[in-house]
């Protein structure tokens, strides 16, 4: 699996991110780093604990990271979640969280597959 194929599997825009970061090496580095980012776990934990402030920040960070990496799909769902959390609308957020979780899992699964296949 190439990094381009990985992007395709994620539903992300590789050309966009290459246009901005201008280095395949950097893209690879940050895509792999995405797996280590704690924001998603923080989001799930704080949502479970009803801590909407922290959830907002975590969701916001995920959205920002997705924007930088061109993860369009997860970027869009975390954007919606961020806006719901900005208004501290717990009910709406709970509904949107499932979508974010699904998109995150899909994204993370694709990256893990890429990582395994590349023997990294």
């Amino acid at each position: 699996m190439t990094i381009q194929e990985c992007y395709k599997a994620i539903g992300a825009d590789y050309d966009d991110v290459l246009g901005r970061l201008r280095s395949e090496r950097l893209i690879q580095k940050f895509v792999l780093k995405f797996l280590d980012d704690e924001s998603f776990r923080l989001l799930c934990d704080s949502m479970a604990a009803g801590d909407l402030d922290t959830a907002f920040r975590a969701s916001h960070t995920i959205k920002g990271v997705c924007a930088n990496l061109g993860f369009t799909r997860l970027g869009a769902s975390s954007h919606d979640l961020t806006e719901a959390l900005r208004g501290r609308d717990g009910a709406a957020a709970a509904g949107l969280l499932d979508r974010v979780k699904a998109d995150y899992e899909q994204t993370a699964a694709a990256i893990r597959a890429y990582k395994a296949e590349a023997g990294l």
């Binding site: 201008r22 090496r25 920040r57 960070t61």
Partner: protein
């Protein structure tokens, strides 16, 4: 794959170094230093992406929330060239950081670029309102980020230069206007026949009193700028006298009441002159001078002239100058009276003998007696100016707010001084200054405390305590070192032992001498510092003692050979090693018959032969006297090697037959211990000598009981 990753990183690192070496500026724009950029973002990944884009050109500092950012800025804000700031963060968000930066006035000279996916126009507008220079939305483009960082830094560099230029111009204008005022007022004084110092005194005193007043009460809203303006304007208080007839102005005796009426017009005349300056009339400086001229002869009780104002109807500027004018008239000499001492003058003023004044100002006068007396007693203009500057500086510390350009400079100087004394205590530097006339030694407070001296010691050359510190002939020895310098090369550094607190310790002394400006230039004094380097000094001495090589032969001495052998045994324990110990037969006889110089020559020749007969990886040493040692690693035929070496050492030198006896040990038997190998080789040497000189013997267990001690005692006479 992991490995390739690492290699990539390393390659980049090397490349980076190379570039930095070639281009010290490290990037865009020749004038730019390699600046520090602070990246503030709660996501490690976001920081990392930005750092990757910028780290080739800039040093990167990172903070993961607003509070950390403030901590970093508190420590480094002078070094940080730019902040990249996220908005949404835990603990303190980006706006919080901007607020703190505004409160500390950092935002004025430290550009901030906000980076956020918060692209709502309200957020962007708020960021700009709070002083950010630029706003970059996510996702960002590497080129755009780099370019905007460069642009912002260039912009700020330009702005900084412009600000410096403006500041310089303001200072120059201030200087020039103060110069004009001074010239003008001296013309008046000259015509008055008063001393040129009156203006200066009134000005200084006005300044002192106003600052004291501001500390005391907030009744008069006086900014630092107001105080400066009034102090400068005070010089003009008597310009009206320029229109007074000279016969009245300089009349030696008492004035008639008509004459006094004429004299009194000077207040109004001065004010009119200033009012006539049509284009400048509304200038704050001219307004202050106007008030001072017109009302500096009014009295608190309303019985003054020209307008009979009372209490705070009289502008505070005029009140203060009136008091300063009277005080200086009393304490200065006049043709008709001697100067009065400070106490007497104050007494007369408080008594109401010289007018009626604002009680608050009288309190300022009595409460600041010390600094006033100090300034006024000073016997030269220079001293007055210097002191008044000090007082201004004191006041800067106590007057909050409205920092002007020059006050900021003073504050910076104060800060530098504080920093300097702090570091001198931290680095344990004894700082000193010496002047020839008067002979005086000044010490930094830390040094004085440590040495148990005052901060200023008069006649240090004859001071017993200095003598105790420098040693008996210390002063002249110290002077000699210092006198090695010249006006062209005024710096000297040397090591010197100083004695204090019951200990003598070596110090590294650095001195810069000061010379007179005349011809010929004479030695006027010196300043410098001494730092305790005793431990380093001792280490050097020990090292010199243990210096690896023997001076005569250039071979290793025993200590360093031992070290190397031990190291070899530890590093390559799998090797097979042999050690040979030998001395010269009948060497004493050679010394006796042909002299010690010849003896030394023989030792050198043996060393040379030894050097040539072993490999460079072998270890050879002159262990003392006529004793030598060799240590080598061998594979097969050790006996042949030893035989070859033995034969190359023996033989004729200038008619003298060099003959040696050697004992050899092997690590195979002795083990990997220097001591054991040496003991066995030494025992073998002794056994050999006892049997027959001019031979070598390998150690075997039959020699086990042969003790070196025996050799020492019994052979001392017999073996040579």
């Amino acid at each position: 794959m992991q490995a390739r990753f690492e290699t990539d990183r390393m390659d980049r690192g090397v490349q980076k170094q190379g570039r930095a070496g070639l281009r010290p500026g490290g990037g865009h724009g020749e004038t730019m230093q390699k600046g520090k950029i602070l990246i503030v973002d709660d996501s490690e990944m976001n920081r990392s992406i930005l750092a990757d884009m910028l780290e080739e050109e800039y040093k990167i500092l990172e903070a993961e929330d607003g509070e950390q950012a403030i901590e970093v800025l508190q420590e480094h804000h002078a070094d940080v060239a730019l902040v990249l700031l996220d908005i949404v963060m835990p603990k303190m968000d980006g706006f919080g950081v901007l607020e703190v930066m505004a409160r500390n006035n950092w935002i004025e000279d430290l550009p901030v670029i906000m980076i956020s996916s918060e692209s709502g126009s309200a957020q962007v507008a708020r960021a700009y309102d709070m002083g950010v220079t630029d706003f970059i939305g996510r996702p960002f483009d590497a080129l755009v980020v780099r370019r905007r960082v460069v642009n912002t830094l260039l912009l700020y560099a330009k702005q900084k230069r412009l600000m410096d230029m403006v500041e310089e111009q303001i200072r120059e204008t201030e200087r020039q206007s103060s110069l004009m005022v001074e010239i003008l007022s001296h013309i008046v004084e000259f015509r008055n026949g008063e001393s040129g110092q009156h203006i200066l005194h009134v000005r200084t005193l006005t300044d002192i009193l106003l600052r004291a007043l501001v500390r005391k009460t907030d009744r008069y809203e006086l900014s630092g700028e107001d105080i400066n303006r009034i102090s400068v304007g005070s010089a003009l208080h008597d310009i009206g006298k320029i229109v007074i007839d000279e016969t009245i102005l300089n009349k030696p005796g008492k004035l008639t009441s008509e004459e006094f009426d004429v004299m009194k017009t000077h207040a109004m005349k001065g004010a009119e002159m200033l009012d006539a300056l049509e284009s400048q009339r509304d200038d704050p400086m001219v307004r202050s001078a106007y008030e001072i001229c017109r009302w500096h002869h009014e009295r608190w009780d309303g019985r003054g002239y020209p307008d009979g104002l009372s209490g705070d109807e009289i502008p505070i500027s005029a009140q203060v100058v009136a008091l300063a004018d009277v005080y200086d008239a009393l304490t200065s000499p006049r043709v008709y009276k001697p100067p009065l001492p400070h106490e007497r003058a104050v007494e007369m003023i408080l008594d109401g003998q010289c007018g009626a004044f604002n009680p608050l100002l009288l309190e300022c006068l009595t409460e600041n007696s010390d600094s006033i007396r100090m300034v006024m007693d000073a016997d030269s203009d220079q001293a007055v100016i210097r002191e008044s500057q000090n007082i201004v500086k004191d006041s800067v510390r106590t007057t909050p707010g409205d920092a002007t350009a020059s006050e900021r400079t003073l504050r910076l100087m104060d800060y530098e001084r504080m920093k300097h004394s702090f570091f001198s205590a931290m680095t344990k530097e004894l700082q000193f200054e010496y002047s020839v006339t008067p002979p005086r030694l000044s010490l930094s407070s830390w040094a004085a405390e440590l040495l148990g001296l005052e901060e200023v010691v008069a006649n240090p050359a004859r001071d017993q305590r200095i003598r105790a510190i420098l040693g008996d002939d210390g002063w002249s020895r110290f002077s000699w070192e210092v006198h090695q310098t010249t006006p062209e090369e005024p710096n000297a550094s040397f090591d010197y032992p100083l004695t204090y607190n019951g200990q003598t310790r070596w110090h590294s002394v650095v001195v810069r001498t000061v010379w007179t400006t005349g011809t010929p230039q004479r030695f006027a004094g010196a300043l410098g510092k001494a730092i305790d380097n005793h431990d380093a000094h001792e280490r050097m001495l020990t090292l010199e003692k243990q210096a690896a090589r023997d001076a005569l032969t250039g071979l290793l001495n025993q200590a360093s050979a031992r070290e190397r052998i031990r190291k070899r045994l530890v590093e390559r324990p799998e090797g097979r090693y042999a050690m040979g110990v030998f001395d010269l037969d009948l060497f004493k006889a050679a010394n006796d018959s042909r002299g010690h110089q010849f003896g030394d020559q023989v030792l050198k020749v043996v060393a040379e032969r030894l050097t040539h007969s072993v490999r460079s990886s072998d270890i050879i040493s002159r262990t003392g006297g006529d004793e030598f040692m060799l240590f080598l690693e061998y594979n097969t035929d050790l006996e042949r090697t030893i035989d070859r070496i033995f034969n190359s050492l023996c033989g004729d030198y200038e008619g003298y037959d060099i003959s040696i006896t050697m004992g050899v040990s092997k690590s195979e038997n002795a083990g990997l211990s220097y001591e054991d190998m040496f003991r066995e080789a030494d025992s073998a040497l002794y056994a050999a000598k006892r049997a027959k000189k001019r031979q070598y013997l390998f150690y075997d267990s039959s020699m086990k009981d042969v003790l070196r001690a025996e050799t020492d005692v019994n052979e001392r006479n017999g073996r040579n």
